[in-house]
Symmetry: C2
Subunit: 318 residues, 2 copies
Protein backbone atom coordinates (compact mmCIF):
# COMPACT_ATOMS: atom_id res chain seq x y z
CA UNK A 1 0.00 0.00 0.00
CA UNK A 2 1.55 3.28 -1.12
CA UNK A 3 0.72 6.76 0.18
CA UNK A 4 0.04 8.91 -2.84
CA UNK A 5 -0.36 12.69 -3.14
CA UNK A 6 -1.89 14.49 -6.11
CA UNK A 7 -0.52 17.94 -6.91
CA UNK A 8 -2.88 20.01 -9.07
CA UNK A 9 -6.61 19.56 -9.49
CA UNK A 10 -7.42 20.05 -13.16
CA UNK A 11 -8.64 17.34 -15.57
CA UNK A 12 -5.61 15.13 -14.95
CA UNK A 13 -5.63 15.58 -11.16
CA UNK A 14 -9.33 14.73 -10.99
CA UNK A 15 -8.85 11.64 -13.16
CA UNK A 16 -5.95 10.55 -10.90
CA UNK A 17 -8.12 11.04 -7.82
CA UNK A 18 -10.85 8.78 -9.20
CA UNK A 19 -8.36 6.03 -10.07
CA UNK A 20 -6.52 6.29 -6.74
CA UNK A 21 -9.82 6.10 -4.82
CA UNK A 22 -10.69 2.88 -6.63
CA UNK A 23 -7.28 1.27 -6.15
CA UNK A 24 -6.50 -1.30 -3.47
CA UNK A 25 -2.77 -0.56 -3.65
CA UNK A 26 -2.97 3.15 -2.91
CA UNK A 27 -3.99 5.44 -0.10
CA UNK A 28 -4.66 8.97 -1.28
CA UNK A 29 -3.05 11.29 1.29
CA UNK A 30 -4.54 14.41 -0.23
CA UNK A 31 -4.78 16.82 -3.09
CA UNK A 32 -2.47 19.82 -3.10
CA UNK A 33 -3.74 22.81 -5.05
CA UNK A 34 -3.05 26.50 -5.49
CA UNK A 35 -6.75 27.20 -5.71
CA UNK A 36 -8.79 27.81 -2.54
CA UNK A 37 -12.25 26.59 -1.63
CA UNK A 38 -12.15 23.34 -3.58
CA UNK A 39 -14.25 20.37 -2.47
CA UNK A 40 -13.58 16.78 -3.53
CA UNK A 41 -16.55 14.60 -4.56
CA UNK A 42 -14.71 11.69 -2.89
CA UNK A 43 -14.06 13.51 0.36
CA UNK A 44 -10.31 13.64 -0.29
CA UNK A 45 -8.60 16.19 1.95
CA UNK A 46 -7.49 19.23 -0.06
CA UNK A 47 -4.44 21.18 1.08
CA UNK A 48 -2.69 24.32 -0.04
CA UNK A 49 0.09 23.51 -2.50
CA UNK A 50 2.94 24.48 -0.15
CA UNK A 51 1.70 22.20 2.63
CA UNK A 52 3.16 19.26 0.75
CA UNK A 53 6.64 20.19 1.99
CA UNK A 54 5.61 19.63 5.62
CA UNK A 55 3.82 16.40 4.79
CA UNK A 56 6.53 14.98 2.52
CA UNK A 57 7.68 12.35 5.01
CA UNK A 58 4.21 10.72 4.91
CA UNK A 59 4.08 10.60 1.11
CA UNK A 60 5.57 7.69 -0.85
CA UNK A 61 5.06 9.40 -4.18
CA UNK A 62 3.45 12.57 -5.55
CA UNK A 63 1.67 12.59 -8.91
CA UNK A 64 2.31 16.04 -10.37
CA UNK A 65 -0.79 17.02 -12.33
CA UNK A 66 0.12 20.65 -12.82
CA UNK A 67 -1.55 22.27 -15.77
CA UNK A 68 1.32 23.68 -17.68
CA UNK A 69 4.96 23.12 -18.39
CA UNK A 70 5.66 26.39 -16.52
CA UNK A 71 4.09 25.09 -13.30
CA UNK A 72 6.10 21.90 -13.55
CA UNK A 73 9.31 23.75 -14.20
CA UNK A 74 8.77 25.92 -11.11
CA UNK A 75 6.80 23.95 -8.50
CA UNK A 76 7.73 20.49 -9.80
CA UNK A 77 11.42 21.24 -9.55
CA UNK A 78 11.00 22.60 -6.01
CA UNK A 79 9.68 19.15 -4.98
CA UNK A 80 12.51 17.15 -6.55
CA UNK A 81 14.62 15.48 -3.89
CA UNK A 82 12.03 16.11 -1.17
CA UNK A 83 9.50 13.51 -2.31
CA UNK A 84 9.35 10.90 -5.09
CA UNK A 85 7.51 12.38 -8.06
CA UNK A 86 5.98 11.35 -11.36
CA UNK A 87 4.91 13.90 -13.94
CA UNK A 88 3.69 14.06 -17.50
CA UNK A 89 5.92 16.94 -18.55
CA UNK A 90 5.18 17.11 -22.24
CA UNK A 91 7.31 19.83 -23.80
CA UNK A 92 9.58 17.57 -25.86
CA UNK A 93 11.92 20.43 -26.73
CA UNK A 94 12.62 21.33 -23.09
CA UNK A 95 12.83 17.73 -21.84
CA UNK A 96 16.62 17.57 -21.73
CA UNK A 97 17.02 20.64 -19.49
CA UNK A 98 14.11 19.65 -17.29
CA UNK A 99 15.51 16.16 -16.75
CA UNK A 100 18.95 17.59 -15.97
CA UNK A 101 17.56 19.97 -13.33
CA UNK A 102 15.31 17.36 -11.75
CA UNK A 103 18.11 14.78 -11.80
CA UNK A 104 20.57 16.80 -9.73
CA UNK A 105 18.02 17.74 -7.09
CA UNK A 106 16.40 14.30 -6.86
CA UNK A 107 19.75 12.53 -6.61
CA UNK A 108 20.91 14.96 -3.90
CA UNK A 109 17.80 14.25 -1.83
CA UNK A 110 17.89 10.48 -2.41
CA UNK A 111 14.53 10.55 -4.18
CA UNK A 112 13.32 9.36 -7.58
CA UNK A 113 11.54 11.58 -10.11
CA UNK A 114 10.00 9.98 -13.19
CA UNK A 115 9.47 12.58 -15.89
CA UNK A 116 7.39 12.57 -19.08
CA UNK A 117 5.08 9.74 -17.98
CA UNK A 118 1.90 9.53 -20.04
CA UNK A 119 1.35 8.40 -23.59
CA UNK A 120 3.28 11.03 -25.55
CA UNK A 121 5.74 11.63 -24.03
CA UNK A 122 5.50 8.25 -22.32
CA UNK A 123 4.38 5.03 -23.96
CA UNK A 124 4.99 6.47 -27.43
CA UNK A 125 8.53 7.51 -26.42
CA UNK A 126 9.17 4.01 -25.10
CA UNK A 127 7.98 2.43 -28.35
CA UNK A 128 9.96 4.84 -30.54
CA UNK A 129 13.12 3.83 -28.64
CA UNK A 130 12.25 0.12 -28.57
CA UNK A 131 11.34 -0.01 -32.27
CA UNK A 132 14.51 1.78 -33.40
CA UNK A 133 16.58 -0.26 -30.96
CA UNK A 134 15.51 -3.59 -32.45
CA UNK A 135 15.22 -2.34 -36.05
CA UNK A 136 18.01 0.20 -36.53
CA UNK A 137 17.57 0.34 -40.31
CA UNK A 138 14.24 2.10 -40.86
CA UNK A 139 12.10 5.17 -40.42
CA UNK A 140 9.79 6.06 -37.53
CA UNK A 141 6.68 8.20 -37.85
CA UNK A 142 4.31 9.31 -35.12
CA UNK A 143 0.72 10.17 -35.97
CA UNK A 144 -1.67 11.76 -33.49
CA UNK A 145 -5.45 11.64 -33.41
CA UNK A 146 -8.17 11.70 -34.09
CA UNK A 147 -8.26 13.64 -30.86
CA UNK A 148 -8.61 16.90 -29.03
CA UNK A 149 -5.43 18.95 -28.69
CA UNK A 150 -5.68 21.05 -25.53
CA UNK A 151 -2.90 23.35 -26.65
CA UNK A 152 -4.49 24.10 -30.02
CA UNK A 153 -7.96 24.48 -28.47
CA UNK A 154 -6.51 26.98 -26.01
CA UNK A 155 -4.83 28.88 -28.85
CA UNK A 156 -8.22 29.21 -30.57
CA UNK A 157 -9.88 30.40 -27.35
CA UNK A 158 -7.38 33.22 -26.97
CA UNK A 159 -8.40 34.74 -30.33
CA UNK A 160 -10.41 37.95 -30.14
CA UNK A 161 -14.12 37.23 -30.67
CA UNK A 162 -13.93 33.52 -29.79
CA UNK A 163 -16.24 32.35 -26.99
CA UNK A 164 -15.17 28.71 -26.90
CA UNK A 165 -13.47 26.27 -29.26
CA UNK A 166 -12.22 22.74 -29.74
CA UNK A 167 -9.50 21.57 -32.10
CA UNK A 168 -9.22 17.99 -33.35
CA UNK A 169 -5.93 16.72 -34.71
CA UNK A 170 -6.72 14.24 -37.49
CA UNK A 171 -4.04 12.05 -39.10
CA UNK A 172 -4.25 11.72 -42.88
CA UNK A 173 -4.76 8.15 -44.01
CA UNK A 174 -2.68 8.61 -47.18
CA UNK A 175 0.28 9.65 -45.03
CA UNK A 176 -0.18 6.65 -42.71
CA UNK A 177 -0.27 4.39 -45.78
CA UNK A 178 2.93 5.87 -47.19
CA UNK A 179 4.72 5.59 -43.82
CA UNK A 180 3.53 1.97 -43.50
CA UNK A 181 5.03 1.19 -46.88
CA UNK A 182 8.32 2.75 -45.77
CA UNK A 183 7.81 5.64 -48.20
CA UNK A 184 7.22 8.35 -45.60
CA UNK A 185 10.60 10.06 -45.91
CA UNK A 186 9.37 13.24 -47.56
CA UNK A 187 6.18 13.67 -45.51
CA UNK A 188 5.74 17.22 -44.19
CA UNK A 189 3.66 18.31 -41.21
CA UNK A 190 0.98 19.41 -43.67
CA UNK A 191 0.94 15.96 -45.27
CA UNK A 192 0.57 14.13 -41.98
CA UNK A 193 -2.15 15.90 -40.00
CA UNK A 194 -5.27 17.94 -40.59
CA UNK A 195 -6.43 20.43 -37.95
CA UNK A 196 -10.22 20.57 -37.59
CA UNK A 197 -11.57 23.50 -35.55
CA UNK A 198 -15.04 23.94 -34.06
CA UNK A 199 -15.46 27.53 -32.98
CA UNK A 200 -18.29 29.28 -31.11
CA UNK A 201 -17.89 33.00 -31.77
CA UNK A 202 -19.10 35.84 -29.60
CA UNK A 203 -22.16 37.74 -30.81
CA UNK A 204 -21.24 40.20 -33.52
CA UNK A 205 -17.70 38.89 -33.89
CA UNK A 206 -16.02 39.16 -37.29
CA UNK A 207 -15.93 35.52 -38.43
CA UNK A 208 -13.76 36.27 -41.44
CA UNK A 209 -11.16 37.88 -39.23
CA UNK A 210 -11.22 34.95 -36.78
CA UNK A 211 -10.75 32.53 -39.66
CA UNK A 212 -7.80 34.51 -41.00
CA UNK A 213 -6.20 34.72 -37.55
CA UNK A 214 -6.46 30.95 -37.22
CA UNK A 215 -5.08 30.12 -40.65
CA UNK A 216 -2.08 32.42 -40.28
CA UNK A 217 -1.18 31.57 -36.66
CA UNK A 218 2.48 30.49 -36.76
CA UNK A 219 3.47 27.00 -35.45
CA UNK A 220 -0.07 26.18 -34.34
CA UNK A 221 -2.02 26.38 -37.60
CA UNK A 222 -0.03 28.00 -40.40
CA UNK A 223 1.98 24.85 -41.25
CA UNK A 224 -1.19 22.71 -41.56
CA UNK A 225 -4.31 22.23 -43.61
CA UNK A 226 -7.05 23.65 -41.43
CA UNK A 227 -10.79 23.03 -41.48
CA UNK A 228 -12.93 25.61 -39.66
CA UNK A 229 -16.54 25.11 -38.56
CA UNK A 230 -18.45 27.85 -36.76
CA UNK A 231 -21.08 26.39 -34.42
CA UNK A 232 -23.21 27.80 -31.62
CA UNK A 233 -21.90 27.29 -28.11
CA UNK A 234 -24.59 24.75 -27.12
CA UNK A 235 -23.71 22.52 -30.08
CA UNK A 236 -20.02 22.86 -29.23
CA UNK A 237 -20.49 21.76 -25.64
CA UNK A 238 -23.01 19.02 -26.48
CA UNK A 239 -21.17 17.42 -29.40
CA UNK A 240 -17.56 18.18 -28.59
CA UNK A 241 -17.41 17.90 -24.81
CA UNK A 242 -15.36 14.68 -24.67
CA UNK A 243 -11.61 14.43 -24.69
CA UNK A 244 -10.90 11.52 -27.04
CA UNK A 245 -7.39 11.04 -28.36
CA UNK A 246 -5.05 8.44 -29.72
CA UNK A 247 -2.43 7.90 -32.35
CA UNK A 248 0.22 5.57 -33.57
CA UNK A 249 3.95 5.06 -33.66
CA UNK A 250 4.98 3.32 -36.83
CA UNK A 251 8.38 1.99 -37.82
CA UNK A 252 9.02 0.56 -41.23
CA UNK A 253 12.41 -0.83 -42.09
CA UNK A 254 14.58 -3.79 -42.95
CA UNK A 255 16.44 -6.59 -41.18
CA UNK A 256 18.92 -8.23 -43.57
CA UNK A 257 17.03 -6.62 -46.44
CA UNK A 258 13.68 -8.16 -45.42
CA UNK A 259 10.79 -5.81 -44.68
CA UNK A 260 9.63 -5.30 -41.09
CA UNK A 261 6.76 -3.14 -39.88
CA UNK A 262 6.11 -2.34 -36.22
CA UNK A 263 3.12 -0.34 -35.13
CA UNK A 264 1.81 0.77 -31.74
CA UNK A 265 -1.74 2.07 -31.87
CA UNK A 266 -3.74 3.80 -29.16
CA UNK A 267 -7.43 4.73 -29.18
CA UNK A 268 -8.75 6.54 -26.13
CA UNK A 269 -12.24 7.69 -25.26
CA UNK A 270 -10.72 10.03 -22.70
CA UNK A 271 -7.17 11.34 -22.83
CA UNK A 272 -6.94 12.49 -19.16
CA UNK A 273 -8.39 9.25 -17.76
CA UNK A 274 -5.92 7.03 -19.62
CA UNK A 275 -3.01 9.39 -18.89
CA UNK A 276 -3.95 9.33 -15.20
CA UNK A 277 -3.86 5.53 -15.25
CA UNK A 278 -0.39 5.54 -16.78
CA UNK A 279 0.81 8.17 -14.31
CA UNK A 280 -0.42 6.23 -11.26
CA UNK A 281 0.93 2.87 -12.48
CA UNK A 282 4.34 4.47 -12.78
CA UNK A 283 3.82 6.29 -9.47
CA UNK A 284 3.58 2.93 -7.67
CA UNK A 285 6.64 1.72 -9.59
CA UNK A 286 8.48 4.94 -8.64
CA UNK A 287 7.88 4.35 -4.92
CA UNK A 288 9.02 0.70 -5.17
CA UNK A 289 12.11 1.56 -7.24
CA UNK A 290 13.16 4.28 -4.80
CA UNK A 291 12.80 1.79 -1.93
CA UNK A 292 15.13 -0.43 -3.95
CA UNK A 293 17.67 2.40 -4.16
CA UNK A 294 16.98 4.13 -7.48
CA UNK A 295 17.47 7.91 -7.26
CA UNK A 296 17.61 10.89 -9.58
CA UNK A 297 15.41 11.76 -12.54
CA UNK A 298 14.52 9.03 -15.03
CA UNK A 299 12.40 8.85 -18.14
CA UNK A 300 10.04 6.01 -19.04
CA UNK A 301 12.85 4.55 -21.18
CA UNK A 302 14.88 3.90 -18.02
CA UNK A 303 12.14 1.92 -16.30
CA UNK A 304 11.78 -1.79 -17.07
CA UNK A 305 8.21 -3.04 -17.58
CA UNK A 306 8.69 -5.47 -14.68
CA UNK A 307 8.81 -2.47 -12.32
CA UNK A 308 5.05 -2.12 -12.87
CA UNK A 309 4.57 -5.40 -10.98
CA UNK A 310 5.47 -6.99 -7.71
CA UNK A 311 8.77 -8.83 -7.95
CA UNK A 312 8.51 -12.10 -9.90
CA UNK A 313 4.89 -11.50 -10.88
CA UNK A 314 5.86 -9.98 -14.21
CA UNK A 315 7.22 -13.29 -15.51
CA UNK A 316 3.73 -14.55 -16.24
CA UNK A 317 3.65 -12.32 -19.33
CA UNK A 318 6.57 -14.10 -21.00
Amino acid sequence: MKNVAIVGYGNLGKACEKIACGSEDMRLVGIFSRRRGLVSPYGTPIFAQEEIFDMAKDIDVAALCLGSANDLVSFGISLAGKVNTVDSFDTHAKMRDYVKNMDELAAEGGKLSLVGIGWDPGIFSLCRALFEGVLPNGLTHTFWGKGVSQGHSEALRRIDGVLDAIQYTVPKQEAIDLATQGKGEALTERDKHLRVCYIAAKEGADLKKIEETVRTMPNYFEPYDVEIHFVDVETLRREHGGMPHGGQVLRSGYANGKGCKLRLELELESNPDFTAGVLLSYAAACARLNEGGMCGAKSILDIPASALYQKGYALRFV
Copy 2:
Protein backbone atom coordinates in the same frame (compact mmCIF):
# COMPACT_ATOMS: atom_id res chain seq x y z
CA MET B 1 32.85 -2.57 -30.06
CA LYS B 2 31.61 -5.83 -28.58
CA ASN B 3 33.00 -9.31 -29.27
CA VAL B 4 30.06 -11.50 -30.19
CA ALA B 5 29.84 -15.28 -30.59
CA ILE B 6 27.03 -17.13 -32.35
CA VAL B 7 26.14 -20.58 -31.04
CA GLY B 8 24.19 -22.67 -33.54
CA TYR B 9 24.11 -22.26 -37.31
CA GLY B 10 20.52 -22.79 -38.43
CA ASN B 11 18.20 -20.09 -39.87
CA LEU B 12 18.54 -17.88 -36.81
CA GLY B 13 22.32 -18.28 -36.49
CA LYS B 14 22.80 -17.47 -40.18
CA ALA B 15 20.58 -14.38 -39.91
CA CYS B 16 22.58 -13.25 -36.85
CA GLU B 17 25.83 -13.73 -38.72
CA LYS B 18 24.66 -11.52 -41.59
CA ILE B 19 23.58 -8.75 -39.20
CA ALA B 20 26.74 -8.97 -37.09
CA CYS B 21 28.93 -8.79 -40.20
CA GLY B 22 27.17 -5.59 -41.27
CA SER B 23 27.34 -3.95 -37.84
CA GLU B 24 29.92 -1.34 -36.86
CA ASP B 25 29.44 -2.05 -33.15
CA MET B 26 30.22 -5.76 -33.24
CA ARG B 27 33.12 -8.02 -33.99
CA LEU B 28 32.02 -11.58 -34.74
CA VAL B 29 34.48 -13.85 -32.90
CA GLY B 30 33.13 -17.00 -34.48
CA ILE B 31 30.31 -19.45 -34.96
CA PHE B 32 30.11 -22.43 -32.62
CA SER B 33 28.30 -25.44 -34.04
CA ARG B 34 27.84 -29.14 -33.38
CA ARG B 35 27.94 -29.84 -37.08
CA ARG B 36 31.26 -30.46 -38.84
CA GLY B 37 32.45 -29.28 -42.21
CA LEU B 38 30.48 -26.02 -42.30
CA VAL B 39 31.75 -23.06 -44.32
CA SER B 40 30.63 -19.47 -43.77
CA PRO B 41 29.83 -17.32 -46.83
CA TYR B 42 31.32 -14.39 -44.88
CA GLY B 43 34.52 -16.17 -43.93
CA THR B 44 33.55 -16.27 -40.25
CA PRO B 45 35.66 -18.81 -38.31
CA ILE B 46 33.59 -21.85 -37.37
CA PHE B 47 34.46 -23.76 -34.21
CA ALA B 48 33.22 -26.90 -32.53
CA GLN B 49 30.52 -26.10 -29.98
CA GLU B 50 32.62 -27.01 -26.94
CA GLU B 51 35.49 -24.73 -27.95
CA ILE B 52 33.47 -21.78 -26.69
CA PHE B 53 34.41 -22.68 -23.10
CA ASP B 54 38.09 -22.09 -23.82
CA MET B 55 37.39 -18.88 -25.71
CA ALA B 56 34.90 -17.46 -23.21
CA LYS B 57 37.28 -14.78 -21.90
CA ASP B 58 37.44 -13.19 -25.37
CA ILE B 59 33.67 -13.11 -25.82
CA ASP B 60 31.56 -10.20 -24.53
CA VAL B 61 28.29 -11.96 -25.31
CA ALA B 62 27.09 -15.14 -26.99
CA ALA B 63 23.90 -15.21 -29.07
CA LEU B 64 22.42 -18.67 -28.52
CA CYS B 65 20.75 -19.69 -31.79
CA LEU B 66 20.21 -23.32 -30.90
CA GLY B 67 17.44 -24.97 -32.81
CA SER B 68 15.27 -26.39 -30.10
CA ALA B 69 14.26 -25.80 -26.53
CA ASN B 70 16.10 -29.04 -25.65
CA ASP B 71 19.42 -27.74 -26.94
CA LEU B 72 18.98 -24.52 -24.99
CA VAL B 73 18.06 -26.37 -21.82
CA SER B 74 21.21 -28.50 -22.08
CA PHE B 75 23.95 -26.53 -23.83
CA GLY B 76 22.55 -23.06 -23.04
CA ILE B 77 22.49 -23.78 -19.34
CA SER B 78 26.06 -25.11 -19.44
CA LEU B 79 27.17 -21.67 -20.70
CA ALA B 80 25.36 -19.66 -18.02
CA GLY B 81 27.81 -17.94 -15.70
CA LYS B 82 30.75 -18.58 -18.04
CA VAL B 83 29.81 -16.00 -20.68
CA ASN B 84 27.04 -13.42 -21.09
CA THR B 85 24.25 -14.94 -23.18
CA VAL B 86 21.08 -13.95 -25.00
CA ASP B 87 18.62 -16.54 -26.26
CA SER B 88 15.18 -16.74 -27.80
CA PHE B 89 13.97 -19.62 -25.63
CA ASP B 90 10.35 -19.84 -26.70
CA THR B 91 8.63 -22.55 -24.69
CA HIS B 92 6.38 -20.31 -22.62
CA ALA B 93 5.33 -23.15 -20.32
CA LYS B 94 8.90 -23.99 -19.32
CA MET B 95 10.09 -20.39 -19.03
CA ARG B 96 9.87 -20.19 -15.24
CA ASP B 97 12.10 -23.24 -14.62
CA TYR B 98 14.52 -22.23 -17.34
CA VAL B 99 14.93 -18.73 -15.92
CA LYS B 100 15.42 -20.11 -12.43
CA ASN B 101 18.20 -22.48 -13.55
CA MET B 102 19.94 -19.88 -15.67
CA ASP B 103 19.62 -17.29 -12.91
CA GLU B 104 21.48 -19.26 -10.27
CA LEU B 105 24.35 -20.20 -12.58
CA ALA B 106 24.69 -16.78 -14.20
CA ALA B 107 24.65 -14.98 -10.85
CA GLU B 108 27.26 -17.37 -9.44
CA GLY B 109 29.59 -16.67 -12.37
CA GLY B 110 28.97 -12.91 -12.36
CA LYS B 111 27.50 -13.00 -15.87
CA LEU B 112 24.20 -11.86 -17.37
CA SER B 113 21.84 -14.13 -19.34
CA LEU B 114 18.90 -12.56 -21.16
CA VAL B 115 16.27 -15.20 -21.90
CA GLY B 116 13.27 -15.23 -24.24
CA ILE B 117 14.55 -12.43 -26.48
CA GLY B 118 12.78 -12.25 -29.83
CA TRP B 119 9.27 -11.16 -30.69
CA ASP B 120 7.17 -13.79 -28.91
CA PRO B 121 8.48 -14.35 -26.33
CA GLY B 122 10.16 -10.98 -26.45
CA ILE B 123 8.62 -7.77 -27.74
CA PHE B 124 5.13 -9.24 -27.42
CA SER B 125 5.82 -10.24 -23.79
CA LEU B 126 7.04 -6.72 -23.08
CA CYS B 127 3.91 -5.18 -24.56
CA ARG B 128 1.57 -7.59 -22.75
CA ALA B 129 3.18 -6.53 -19.45
CA LEU B 130 3.29 -2.83 -20.34
CA PHE B 131 -0.31 -2.75 -21.57
CA GLU B 132 -1.70 -4.52 -18.50
CA GLY B 133 0.53 -2.45 -16.24
CA VAL B 134 -0.89 0.86 -17.48
CA LEU B 135 -4.43 -0.43 -18.06
CA PRO B 136 -5.14 -2.96 -15.29
CA ASN B 137 -8.87 -3.12 -16.07
CA GLY B 138 -9.11 -4.92 -19.40
CA LEU B 139 -8.46 -8.00 -21.48
CA THR B 140 -5.36 -8.89 -23.52
CA HIS B 141 -5.38 -11.05 -26.63
CA THR B 142 -2.46 -12.16 -28.75
CA PHE B 143 -2.99 -13.06 -32.39
CA TRP B 144 -0.30 -14.64 -34.53
CA GLY B 145 0.12 -14.55 -38.29
CA LYS B 146 -0.33 -14.61 -41.08
CA GLY B 147 2.90 -16.55 -40.86
CA VAL B 148 4.78 -19.80 -41.06
CA SER B 149 4.85 -21.85 -37.88
CA GLN B 150 8.04 -23.92 -37.85
CA GLY B 151 6.68 -26.25 -35.17
CA HIS B 152 3.48 -27.01 -37.06
CA SER B 153 5.31 -27.36 -40.37
CA GLU B 154 7.65 -29.88 -38.72
CA ALA B 155 4.67 -31.78 -37.31
CA LEU B 156 3.26 -32.12 -40.85
CA ARG B 157 6.61 -33.30 -42.25
CA ARG B 158 6.79 -36.13 -39.72
CA ILE B 159 3.52 -37.65 -41.03
CA ASP B 160 3.91 -40.84 -43.02
CA GLY B 161 3.68 -40.12 -46.75
CA VAL B 162 4.54 -36.41 -46.48
CA LEU B 163 7.53 -35.24 -48.53
CA ASP B 164 7.51 -31.60 -47.45
CA ALA B 165 5.01 -29.17 -45.94
CA ILE B 166 4.41 -25.63 -44.73
CA GLN B 167 1.82 -24.48 -42.22
CA TYR B 168 0.54 -20.91 -42.04
CA THR B 169 -1.11 -19.64 -38.89
CA VAL B 170 -3.83 -17.18 -39.92
CA PRO B 171 -5.68 -14.99 -37.41
CA LYS B 172 -9.42 -14.71 -37.96
CA GLN B 173 -10.55 -11.13 -38.57
CA GLU B 174 -13.88 -11.63 -36.76
CA ALA B 175 -11.97 -12.63 -33.63
CA ILE B 176 -9.65 -9.61 -33.90
CA ASP B 177 -12.71 -7.37 -34.27
CA LEU B 178 -14.39 -8.86 -31.18
CA ALA B 179 -11.20 -8.52 -29.12
CA THR B 180 -10.81 -4.92 -30.31
CA GLN B 181 -14.31 -4.15 -29.10
CA GLY B 182 -13.47 -5.69 -25.71
CA LYS B 183 -15.81 -8.60 -26.41
CA GLY B 184 -13.16 -11.30 -26.77
CA GLU B 185 -13.71 -13.00 -23.42
CA ALA B 186 -15.24 -16.20 -24.77
CA LEU B 187 -12.92 -16.63 -27.76
CA THR B 188 -11.54 -20.17 -28.09
CA GLU B 189 -8.38 -21.26 -29.90
CA ARG B 190 -10.63 -22.39 -32.78
CA ASP B 191 -12.23 -18.93 -32.96
CA LYS B 192 -8.93 -17.08 -33.06
CA HIS B 193 -6.72 -18.85 -35.58
CA LEU B 194 -7.02 -20.89 -38.75
CA ARG B 195 -4.28 -23.36 -39.69
CA VAL B 196 -3.59 -23.49 -43.42
CA CYS B 197 -1.43 -26.42 -44.60
CA TYR B 198 0.36 -26.83 -47.91
CA ILE B 199 1.48 -30.44 -48.25
CA ALA B 200 3.60 -32.16 -50.91
CA ALA B 201 2.91 -35.90 -50.59
CA LYS B 202 5.19 -38.74 -51.63
CA GLU B 203 4.26 -40.61 -54.80
CA GLY B 204 1.49 -43.12 -54.12
CA ALA B 205 0.79 -41.78 -50.62
CA ASP B 206 -2.74 -42.08 -49.22
CA LEU B 207 -3.89 -38.45 -49.24
CA LYS B 208 -7.08 -39.20 -47.33
CA LYS B 209 -5.09 -40.80 -44.56
CA ILE B 210 -2.65 -37.88 -44.40
CA GLU B 211 -5.57 -35.46 -44.16
CA GLU B 212 -7.15 -37.45 -41.34
CA THR B 213 -3.85 -37.65 -39.46
CA VAL B 214 -3.51 -33.88 -39.68
CA ARG B 215 -7.06 -33.08 -38.60
CA THR B 216 -6.93 -35.38 -35.57
CA MET B 217 -3.42 -34.51 -34.37
CA PRO B 218 -3.83 -33.44 -30.73
CA ASN B 219 -2.64 -29.95 -29.63
CA TYR B 220 -1.21 -29.10 -33.04
CA PHE B 221 -4.31 -29.31 -35.27
CA GLU B 222 -7.25 -30.95 -33.54
CA PRO B 223 -8.28 -27.82 -31.59
CA TYR B 224 -8.33 -25.68 -34.78
CA ASP B 225 -10.10 -25.20 -38.06
CA VAL B 226 -7.69 -26.61 -40.60
CA GLU B 227 -7.40 -25.96 -44.32
CA ILE B 228 -5.40 -28.54 -46.30
CA HIS B 229 -3.99 -28.03 -49.80
CA PHE B 230 -2.02 -30.75 -51.56
CA VAL B 231 0.53 -29.29 -53.97
CA ASP B 232 3.52 -30.68 -55.84
CA VAL B 233 6.88 -30.17 -54.25
CA GLU B 234 8.10 -27.63 -56.85
CA THR B 235 5.06 -25.42 -56.20
CA LEU B 236 5.60 -25.75 -52.46
CA ARG B 237 9.20 -24.63 -52.61
CA ARG B 238 8.57 -21.90 -55.18
CA GLU B 239 5.49 -20.33 -53.61
CA HIS B 240 5.99 -21.08 -49.95
CA GLY B 241 9.75 -20.81 -49.47
CA GLY B 242 9.70 -17.58 -47.41
CA MET B 243 9.34 -17.32 -43.66
CA PRO B 244 6.93 -14.43 -43.17
CA HIS B 245 5.31 -13.93 -39.79
CA GLY B 246 3.72 -11.33 -37.59
CA GLY B 247 0.88 -10.80 -35.23
CA GLN B 248 -0.58 -8.44 -32.72
CA VAL B 249 -1.01 -7.90 -29.00
CA LEU B 250 -4.28 -6.18 -28.28
CA ARG B 251 -5.56 -4.83 -24.98
CA SER B 252 -9.04 -3.43 -24.66
CA GLY B 253 -10.20 -2.02 -21.36
CA TYR B 254 -11.26 0.96 -19.31
CA ALA B 255 -9.70 3.79 -17.32
CA ASN B 256 -12.31 5.43 -15.09
CA GLY B 257 -15.00 3.78 -17.19
CA LYS B 258 -13.68 5.28 -20.44
CA GLY B 259 -12.68 2.91 -23.25
CA CYS B 260 -8.99 2.44 -24.09
CA LYS B 261 -7.53 0.27 -26.82
CA LEU B 262 -3.82 -0.50 -27.14
CA ARG B 263 -2.44 -2.52 -30.01
CA LEU B 264 1.06 -3.61 -31.01
CA GLU B 265 1.25 -4.94 -34.54
CA LEU B 266 4.13 -6.67 -36.28
CA GLU B 267 4.44 -7.62 -39.95
CA LEU B 268 7.61 -9.42 -40.99
CA GLU B 269 8.79 -10.60 -44.38
CA SER B 270 11.23 -12.89 -42.61
CA ASN B 271 10.80 -14.18 -39.09
CA PRO B 272 14.44 -15.28 -38.52
CA ASP B 273 15.93 -12.04 -39.89
CA PHE B 274 13.85 -9.82 -37.60
CA THR B 275 14.35 -12.15 -34.61
CA ALA B 276 18.11 -12.05 -35.23
CA GLY B 277 18.02 -8.25 -35.19
CA VAL B 278 16.18 -8.25 -31.86
CA LEU B 279 18.57 -10.84 -30.43
CA LEU B 280 21.69 -8.88 -31.40
CA SER B 281 20.33 -5.53 -30.19
CA TYR B 282 19.75 -7.10 -26.80
CA ALA B 283 23.13 -8.89 -27.02
CA ALA B 284 24.89 -5.53 -27.14
CA ALA B 285 22.70 -4.31 -24.26
CA CYS B 286 23.53 -7.49 -22.32
CA ALA B 287 27.27 -6.88 -22.60
CA ARG B 288 26.89 -3.22 -21.52
CA LEU B 289 24.57 -4.07 -18.61
CA ASN B 290 26.95 -6.75 -17.33
CA GLU B 291 29.81 -4.25 -17.47
CA GLY B 292 27.58 -2.02 -15.33
CA GLY B 293 27.18 -4.83 -12.80
CA MET B 294 23.93 -6.60 -13.76
CA CYS B 295 24.15 -10.37 -13.21
CA GLY B 296 21.84 -13.38 -13.25
CA ALA B 297 19.08 -14.29 -15.71
CA LYS B 298 16.67 -11.58 -16.83
CA SER B 299 13.74 -11.46 -19.22
CA ILE B 300 13.03 -8.65 -21.67
CA LEU B 301 10.65 -7.19 -19.06
CA ASP B 302 13.61 -6.48 -16.77
CA ILE B 303 15.55 -4.52 -19.37
CA PRO B 304 14.77 -0.81 -19.83
CA ALA B 305 14.56 0.40 -23.44
CA SER B 306 17.39 2.86 -22.72
CA ALA B 307 19.75 -0.11 -22.37
CA LEU B 308 19.54 -0.51 -26.17
CA TYR B 309 21.42 2.78 -26.50
CA GLN B 310 24.60 4.42 -25.34
CA LYS B 311 24.08 6.28 -22.09
CA GLY B 312 22.13 9.51 -22.55
CA TYR B 313 21.48 8.89 -26.24
CA ALA B 314 18.08 7.34 -25.55
CA LEU B 315 16.63 10.64 -24.34
CA ARG B 316 16.20 11.87 -27.92
CA PHE B 317 13.14 9.61 -28.21
CA VAL B 318 11.24 11.41 -25.47
